[in-house]
Amino acid sequence: MRGSARNSAMSRKIRISFPNDGASATADLLEDDAPNTCDALWDLLPLRVRAVHDIWSGHQVVAHLDKSVVLQPENVLTYLPMPGDIFYYYRPTHYFRGAPYGRTESAELGIVYDRDSRPQGPRGPEAVNLFANISSALDQFAKACEDMIYRGQKEILIERVE
């Protein structure tokens, strides 16, 4: 059963937008499966960050969080995500060789927008905290994600849906 179906209809929702594209989608937090991750990220909202297309994992974009956002592993069995899945992951100090983009450690959100994707990094497949799933407007949102292959990084806005 999908996470979004497994969690109650009363779960909190977030809106993810590309303000410059006019593309927006709504996601349900998977509070039963990842309560601590959901709480921690909910408390950070609203977030306005740069997103870039992934170069390891397929149809996925990533948004870098402040490195201080270090969360414990939770709901990490999903390494073959579905389109619309949103996850958190953390790469500790010394994970990278050198400091790509000036980072020696990294806290990130990943958004999977199409199938045939698998969270992955320089050391292979990643265990990630799956904490949300897009429940509406994925098609339009996916087009804006794919467009990043051709136009580069974009600003992304994540807000609470109250």
Partner: protein, 169 residues
């Protein structure tokens, strides 16, 4: 050994062809130079940009040399062909005729190179199916940091014009 110069965003890098290892592939590549197009960043194979071949520049070459197993090093330049049957969706940066059939130079510019789904998933490699060809045919011998930065910029700023031509120096 013959050499190729790659020009990207006001920078350039020089590669040496592996004439003694894959002579047929090198001849075929040499014969279509110069080639130019909008280079695109890889989504599966880490620090790699691609120069798409199309129109009268398209190459459909058989495999040559020792079979590769995803062990790609920074500086490697690979001839890559993928049959339309291997593709799902379209590569929208390319002209309509060539959005599903991929013929391109895969340029691995950074470390680590060649990981990601392309290396880890055997079905994705087209192994044993003849639906995909991946032949290492050249290596950079002079790739200054500013050229490598321009390669990485494609990920952040989008497509950029890339030219490959014979180095006659």
């Amino acid at each position: 050994m013959r050499k190729i110069v790659f020009e990207l965003g006001g920078t350039r890098a020089i590669a040496e062809m592996l004439d003694d290892v894959v002579p047929k592939t090198c001849d075929a590549v040499w014969n279509i130079l110069p080639v130019e197009g909008m280079s695109i960043h890889a989504n599966w194979a880490s620090r790699e940009i691609m120069l798409h071949l199309q129109g009268d520049k398209i190459l459909r070459l058989p495999a040559e040399g020792r079979a590769r197993r995803g062990t790609t090093a920074p500086g490697d330049i690979v001839y890559f062909w993928r049959s339309p049957q291997m593709s799902r969706g379209k590569q929208l940066a390319y002209s309509a005729q060539f959005q599903k059939e991929l013929s391109e130079f895969a340029i691995f510019y950074g470390d680590p190179a060649g990981g990601g789904l392309a290396a880890e998933d055997p079905p994705r490699t087209g192994r044993d199916s003849n639906l995909q060809v991946s032949t290492l045919f050249a290596r950079f011998i002079d790739a200054p940091p500013e050229f490598l930065r321009k390669c990485e910029e494609i990920r952040h700023k989008g497509l950029q014009k890339l030219v490959a031509k014979r180095f006659e120096g």
